[in-house]
Amino acid sequence: MASKAQEKPVGLRIALTAFLVVWLVAAAFPFFWTLWGSFKVELDFFSITNWRAALTGPRTEFTYDRPFTGAGYAGAWLQEEFWRSVINTFIVCFFVVCISLTLGTLGGYALSRSGHNYVFWLLITALIFRALPPITLVSGYLPPFFQWNIWGYLPTSIIVLVAINQPFTLWMLHSFFQKIPKELDESAKVDGCTQFQAFRHVIIPVMWPGVITTGLFSFLLAYNDFAVTAMLLSESNRTMIPAIAAFLGTTQTEGNVMFAVAAVVSATVPLFIMVMFFQRQIVSGLTAGAVKG
């Protein structure tokens, strides 16, 4: 309860509010500005004469009779076939999340229920793997992938992303499983279950909150990856982020920068929706590792 003594003086309250408003603008304004600007033509969004042109869109109105146009989106999605990259991204994300959660729950559960010394060393190894920048592994992937002719395909990238994702998944699920009391599966085993049956019938029904949180972070990793997918996927199998990077190289000609702007906005929307629905899980996931140790 806020007592009289904890009430803030007016000056401090104003300063605090001002600071928070400045941060809020810094955090949110760039997204709304780009969303608004993506419906303009390039000469309005990147206006030499007057920055207000991006708000009112005089050139857009001159060209299309309306202050808004979907030309950037049409160009990116249809002309440059961005829809292919969108489908690829969702295929990659879906399989990466499913496979890494399957492997991760089994491994994380085993780590949390075994008291042997090697558990610590396995976790330390996972921590070291987690700290490696993924790009440093790529030159190790390329020669064998070329030799076996599996370079450029989605399944190859999926399995690589799953592996890169494992150390983090293991750590997170390990700490979630430790919070589930051991007595649950112990008693199931006393009743005659094998370890796997105990896992299947007792642990799986109660593990979903932790698994969903971990799944969100696996999704983010797969969705946000640029270094690995840009190097391991061929042009026709590109996911969204490498496709956007490719736009930058190829569409510097007049008008086509707006394709990249539209693609960037399209790639932000799913993340926006995800944060809206899963804000609580994301916050708890970010703090889980920190508060514990």
């Binding site: 780590l111 440093t136 494992q166 983010l220 703090t287 508060v291 140790g293």
Partner: protein
């Protein structure tokens, strides 16, 4: 849990990590020790009615035979590590002998790709990390003091810069600071120089990259500190107030010590993550002004000629640097584990 049961539960994830993380590391180290075979050249003399000409051509068969005999290439030892593209020891010794001042020496150093990248990476890592912790801390204190109904809303928007894809986030900022974008315009107006462009100046480019780094990572520090603030013991805070501590003193002597373990945690994680700075350099098209180790690897691997050996060598050097930054984390985990046992 029995060893055997543990083994079967852990096998799938262990396989994934062995095949796609451990094996590639070994392969990267091997690649960095070997150079590709040079093509075997043969001299052919063509004699015609107008005299003889010497022609040099590649002996395909002999080259192929050489490649088959030693598929890894020819052993180079640490040669690649010390060449001009990496540690460049010869060039440094040369610069040390010839340059008469520190300025000239560092000027020479700046022409070597590895040291140029290192200079930016270290500057970035060690300015972004403290600044994002400070910003995150003040946001956390600020959000913690507003009405409860507003907090969810504030947290939602604060999360966005961190959640959004790094490449996408840096592009969004880059388009705004473009000379024709809204922030670029604002900066030109403030500096009263209509030709000012961030893209043309190295110091300004570094500043924008650092601003992007703080913008995108402060939310992480904020969320962690905000969670920590919920557990501050109210008794301690009240006794500090009774003892007459000002607001600043309460923050300095109660909140900061309580959050200290979290501050260390965020600092260690962020040092490692900022060291691999890569996407903003691509998003800002800043390679003319700033490069990083990750960017060099990416650049060597991409393009027409994939320079695998060079990329592998830079990778090994990067991993060594990360290992150095990781040591404090490992020591901490070790202490935690010993404490629990």
């Amino acid at each position: 849990m029995k060893h055997k049961t543990f083994f079967w539960f852990f096998l799938p994830t262990a396989m994934a990590m062995l095949v796609f993380i451990a094996a590639p590391i070994v392969s990267v180290v091997m690649q960095s020790l070997f150079l590709p075979h040079e093509a075997v050249l043969i001299q052919v003399e063509n004699c015609g009615p107008f005299g003889c000409t010497q022609q040099t051509s590649i002996d395909q068969e002999a080259t192929q035979a050489l490649r088959d005999a030693a598929p890894m290439g020819r052993f180079a030892g640490l040669e690649i590590y010390f060449d001009r593209g990496h540690l460049a020891t010869a060039e440094i010794a040369q610069a040390w002998r010839t340059s008469d001042s520190w300025g000239a020496f560092f000027g020479e150093l700046n022409n070597l790709p590895f040291y140029r990248a290192m200079a930016f990476t270290l500057t970035y890592t060690f300015t972004v990390t403290p600044l994002l912790i400070a910003l995150g801390f003040f946001i956390a204190v600020g959000v913690n003091s507003v009405a409860r109904q507003l907090r969810g809303f504030l947290i939602f928007f604060s999360l966005l810069p961190m959640i959004v894809t790094p490449l996408v986030g840096s592009l969004i900022l880059f388009w705004m600071i473009d000379a024709r974008g809204i922030l670029g315009n604002l900066i030109q107006f403030l500096a009263n120089d209509p030709d000012l462009s961030l893209k043309a100046s190295t110091p300004l480019m570094w500043v924008s990259l650092i601003v992007y780094g703080i913008w995108s990572s402060a939310p992480f520090a904020f969320v962690v500190f905000y969670a920590g603030l919920q557990t501050v013991p109210q008794d301690t805070l009240e006794s500090a107030q009774i003892d007459g501590a000002t607001r600043w003193q309460q923050i300095r002597y109660v909140l900061v010590p309580h959050l200290m373990p979290l501050i260390t945690f965020v600092a260690l994680i962020q040092l490692m993550d900022n060291f691999r700075v890569f996407e903003p350099i691509v998003g800002f098209s800043a390679q003319a002004h700033a490069t990083s180790l990750s960017w060099i690897i990416f650049n060597d691997l991409g393009g027409e000629t994939r320079q695998l050996a060079a990329a592998a060598t830079t990778s090994v050097l990067t991993v060594l640097c990360v290992a150095l930054l990781l040591t404090p984390v490992l020591v901490r985990t070790w202490r935690d584990f010993k404490g629990k046992a």
